[in-house]
Symmetry: C2
Subunit: 308 residues, 2 copies
């Protein structure tokens, strides 16, 4: 147990709920110049982030799960500990992935466009996840949250992640270096990976061509993991059955982009974690304030080498 309460700065926006969370967790709110730690509340990008940080800042809590923009901007250094909100929103994001996958497999986009009872046409297009093999790219907290929901529906999960560390309940977890026949072996693919040099454009023309023509590709991780141009070509040529995307590249997806209104695409505007975004950040922040004060390791620590 440290003897003093944590001196924490909240910036750029001292949101009332965040301030209350911080105080309840036992920290004292101070200006950046006097702070030991900084809770950064601006989601979208690191513009305006104080650089250089005062030397006294030993820990920075970032608000989002993915921190690639901070990594790219060279902000994340080794002079202090950086933590993200990774994992906090895993359950709602996994639920969103399941929603997009079920909607695709059960032809909901076609049904929603119907203006008459097209049972004869839609019956053969209505599939099931029962007995399906769902490939998950990324073996983090989203995969761990998704596997039990898939199991409840009788689907099997096969995971590809960085190091091959087994995901509980998955039929198989393999390291990305040994990805092998992953794309052709699975019935559908869910991308739940961060945007790193290992994953960027991992799903390109060759991978899409290897996937089954009945496969749905779901992306709830980061847009750049999928090559958007290759995806549009695959959808146009019916190379895969469809794509459900909560994240895109570019993001936001501009008006007039071919994915808008595409008969094989379902796009949701990065809302997978809607129910928990701010609440999740506050929960992570409070937990880390508590851990700091108790002298314990923080959670969600960013590794600048891995980029997440």
């Amino acid at each position: 147990m440290r003897s003093e309460p944590l001196r924490l700065a909240v910036a750029p926006d001292a949101d009332a709920a965040v301030v209350e969370t911080v105080r309840e967790a036992g920290a004292v709110l101070v200006d950046l110049a006097d702070a030991q730690a900084l809770a950064w509340t601006a989601w979208t990008d690191p513009a305006g982030f104080p650089q250089p940080l005062p030397a006294g800042i030993a820990w920075v809590q970032l608000p989002s799960a993915g921190v690639e923009r901070w990594v790219e901007a060279g902000i994340i250094d080794r002079a202090r500990v950086w933590t993200s909100a990774a994992g906090v929103c895993a359950a709602p994001v996994a639920e969103h992935a399941l929603t997009l996958l079920l909607a695709g497999v059960r032809a909901l986009p076609e049904c929603l466009r119907s203006t008459e009872w097209a049972r004869t046409e839609l019956l053969p297009r209505t599939g099931t996840l029962a007995g399906a093999v769902v490939g998950i790219v990324g073996g983090g907290s989203i995969a761990r949250a998704l596997v039990p929901s898939l199991a409840a529906l009788g689907a099997e999960a096969r995971v590809v992640n960085r190091g091959g560390r087994p995901v509980p309940g998955a039929a198989e977890t393999r390291p990305i270096a040994e990805i092998g026949d992953f794309w052709e072996a699975v019935d559908h693919v869910v991308v739940a990976a961060p945007d790193t040099s290992d994953t960027r454009r991992l799903v390109g023309s060759a991978e899409l061509a290897a996937m089954k023509p009945t496969a749905w590709l779901i992306n709830v991780g980061r847009g750049p993991v999928v090559d958007t141009e290759a995806l549009v070509r695959a959808l146009d040529s019916a190379g895969i059955a469809g794509a459900g995307l909560d994240v895109t590249d570019p993001e936001p997806l501009p008006a007039g982009h071919p994915l808008w209104g595409h008969p094989r695409a379902v796009v949701t505007p990065h809302v997978a974690d809607a129910a928990l975004t701010l609440r999740g950040f506050r929960r992570r922040l409070a937990e880390n304030v508590r851990r700091w004060t108790a002298g314990e390791d923080l959670v969600g620590v960013v590794d600048p080498d891995r980029g997440y």
Copy 2:
């Protein structure tokens, strides 16, 4: 064990896969006049059903889960055993109910109509099933299949059924006679009940008015359990958030009906059990041929009094 193989007629359509199923199960295929049992293969309605049946017919296997049309037509008598396919398609129907519910809660219809990145509008409309209470009307095999999938997403199930016999995993099962504050207490409602004199128009104006304005109503049971005109009024006035319907009244839903293209409605044309309809019937038929031959009780026996 009966000493003779079952003499079974398959009508009106001696589908090759059904015939193979019957033979593999150990029955002998005969004409109706010489048969002990009849497997009836016409789904949609009982028109053309042989009446009166030859007195030698001791058992009839019907192809569908719901048998209300046979009950209404007065075909189901007490002179023999009648079995339905009830329960065989429970898993895919429960999966469809989950699909419609998730699509509604996560604003997929609005997302599919988007032609630009409407994150600000859609973020507050994107909900979650985590922590939600889902009311299920009907405590049969569909409810039993749905409860574990809801549990995996952190949702709680409360069931109303005929006699209050507990559904495993549900937080509560109450008999329909004591339905009380069910409609206002739950966050969403899934109808998975047969069409009987007890359930017809069970969900009417008063029940829809009692439901939360954020609630989705899902129907994968039978169309007439919901009063369609009252539902359209509730949707028009935003009395509930939306409706996801795989069954309708009338069914098929005619072209030009206000539910087609309604911003708060998702209609799928009775495809919930698409993946298993014929396969499920064959599985039930084979199981009952085996049971008949072994002298065991049949499964899916219809009770003419209850109507299912």
